[in-house]
């Protein structure tokens, strides 16, 4: 069986600098893969290259085993969609939720739009009273639900998630993460997630690749992340600094209060 997404030896160049240097990975069908790294690691650039938004790239990207002519290609659009980071910038400010969700159906000449929009709103947990609202009348979490609904309107198999929760509050992040998990189960989706947050990866993904300055440092299964047993020092370092105070606190052996004595 072909993997849902196969990237081989991908280079992306901005100006004269390669910002992605020979990255390869595959995501099996129905699985969820995460690209993690700090800013400048090229993780978002890889997503952009896959959908064809990066101007200058070489290498091979196969979706369902086929090379796709990306960007603006109708066939590609039905295979692969993207959810963006900033729910405040990813919705057209003058279009209602309804118009935003209908647009992909209109582009592809798919009928029965009204019922499909209603179904999709229900699937992403948005009350139907939000259907004719404008983005500015919605909260960040509601907007991100709309963005996810928009990406799913064409029933793609592969969903690229570019930091989908980093602009949201923790309680809203939990809702969106739950939604993503549920949608993946219900629809058999494949996810490629880009994030800087390792705990999110632990919740949502099966495998991850650690990137640094455009190169792949280490790929590992999720057990490695949960136990913190990365092979490469950089990956382990990233793991250690991402270990939230909460994680430390939960491991009761570590003290919660700062070690330094209080200054009075």
């Amino acid at each position: 069986m072909n993997p849902a997404l196969h990237v081989e030896n991908l280079f992306v160049r901005y100006g004269r600098v390669d910002v992605v240097k020979g990255v390869s990975f595959s995501v099996a069908k129905g699985k969820s893969y995460a690209l993690v790294g700090e800013s400048g690691s090229g993780k978002s650039t890889i997503l952009r290259a896959i959908v064809g938004m990066a101007p200058d790239w070489r290498g091979k990207t196969l979706i369902d085993g086929e090379t796709q002519v990306a960007y603006g290609n109708l066939d590609f659009a039905r295979h692969c969609q993207m959810v963006f980071q900033d729910p405040y910038a990813s919705l057209h400010p003058r279009r209602t939720v309804d118009a935003t969700l209908l647009e992909p159906l209109k582009i592809h000449g798919i009928g029965g739009g009204s019922a499909k929009v209603a179904d999709m709103l229900e699937a992403v947990g948005l009350d139907r009273r939000f259907r004719y609202r404008f983005p500015h009348q919605l909260s960040g979490g509601q907007r991100q639900r709309v963005a996810i609904a928009r990406a799913l309107m064409l029933e793609p198999h592969l969903l690229l998630l570019d930091e989908p929760t980093s602009a949201l509050d923790v309680s809203v992040q939990a809702e969106i993460l739950n939604l993503l998990v549920r949608l993946r189960q219900e629809r058999g989706l494949t996810y490629l997630l880009v994030t800087h947050s390792l705990p999110v990866v632990s919740f949502l993904c099966d495998r991850l690749g650690v990137l640094r300055q455009g190169g792949m440092v280490e790929q590992a299964g999720i057990e490695v992340l949960r136990e913190g047993t990365f092979a490469k020092p950089y990956a382990q370092e990233l793991y250690a600094s991402s270990l939230g105070a909460g994680d430390r606190a939960r491991q009761k052996s570590l003290p919660m209060a700062p070690e330094t004595e209080k200054d009075v």
Partner: protein, 301 residues
């Protein structure tokens, strides 16, 4: 009425057309709450009405000369006085409203969409398309409007229609610049990327997603330009290249009245007042429209 209002302001509209009706209701309500916008709408509405019913409203013929009544000051018979050929100025202004409306509407209808489209295309595609289109735009912008309009009319021949075409040709570059600047601010934004990823064609994106966002600033600019358009038309008329005598075009009337401005002030002042009032009306209307057309602004009120 109460039920109707409830239906229009429903929190969860049942159908798309109820939602649209609700939007129109919200737009008109917020428009009605803006006194200046309402004033503008009333002035422009009056202009349209006057233009429609000019023959019935005007007390005299706009071209009927009466040399014994030359240059009479405003009186009970001629409310706004008479001009150098004894024609009733009020009647001429009333009939002239048709010409003014025609010029203004035709110029706006031709130049605004042209400028919007060129600007949006340049901003959206960027690169060479942008450079070429903007170079052309800058050439047009750098030439004085009246001179360029003159050149066009000279080439096309005198007359009202050619004057309209000439003015439209000189007016679009400003709109193109505005539309391009607006487009650049959201050209790389995620909501445009999202429709691109859905496979929308470039023309669809420009038409349905880019242009609506450029509209409000262009509407403002067009309404602010109205006075200028009227005056350019007047300038052409004055040089004998626009509306031809004896057509009662307001600008031409001012030019004719210029010779008598010190002794018979009303000849030039009355059509001038008409131009000022109409220009203000368009400005207020445009300002109000901008606030009302933007859903974010609308809710703020």
């Amino acid at each position: 009425m109460g039920a109707m209002k409830l239906w229009l302001t429903a929190d969860a509209p049942d159908s798309r057309w109820q939602a649209q009706a609700g939007q129109i209701y919200a737009i008109s309500r917020s428009f009605a709450r803006n006194p200046l916008a309402m004033l503008g709408a009333v002035i422009v509405g009056l202009l349209v009405l006057v233009a429609m019913f000019a023959p019935w409203l005007a007390p005299y013929s706009p071209t009927g000369q009466n040399l014994s009544m030359r240059l009479m000051p405003p009186s009970a018979e001629n409310w706004l006085g008479t001009d150098e050929l004894g024609r009733d100025i009020l009647s001429r202004i009333i009939h002239g409203s048709r010409i003014t409306l025609l010029i203004v509407v035709m110029v706006a209808v031709i130049s605004a969409p042209l400028g919007l489209l060129i600007g949006a295309i340049a901003g959206y595609f960027g690169g060479w398309t942008d450079r070429v289109l903007m170079a052309v735009t800058d050439v047009f912008l750098s030439l004085p409007k009246l001179i360029m309009a003159l050149a066009f009319v000279a080439a096309l021949g005198a007359g009202l229609q050619n004057a309209i075409i000439a003015i439209a040709v000189t007016a679009w570059p400003a709109y193109a610049r505005i539309a391009r600047a607006e487009t650049l601010t959201f050209r790389n934004s995620e909501f445009i990327a999202a429709v691109q990823l859905q496979g929308a064609s470039n023309m669809r994106i420009i038409g349905l997603h880019v242009l609506p966002l450029c509209m409000s600033s262009t509407i403002i600019r067009v309404t602010l330009d109205m006075a200028g358009i009227i005056l350019t038309a007047a300038g052409l008329g004055f040089l004998g290249l626009g509306a031809q005598p004896p057509l009662p075009e307001w600008g031409a009337m001012i030019s004719r009245g210029r010779s008598f401005i010190l002794d018979q002030w009303w000849v030039a002042t009355m059509p001038g007042l008409a131009i000022i009032i109409i220009s203000l009306g368009f400005c207020f209307l445009g300002d109000g429209l901008r606030d009302v057309l933007d859903p974010r602004q609308r809710d703020g009120r």
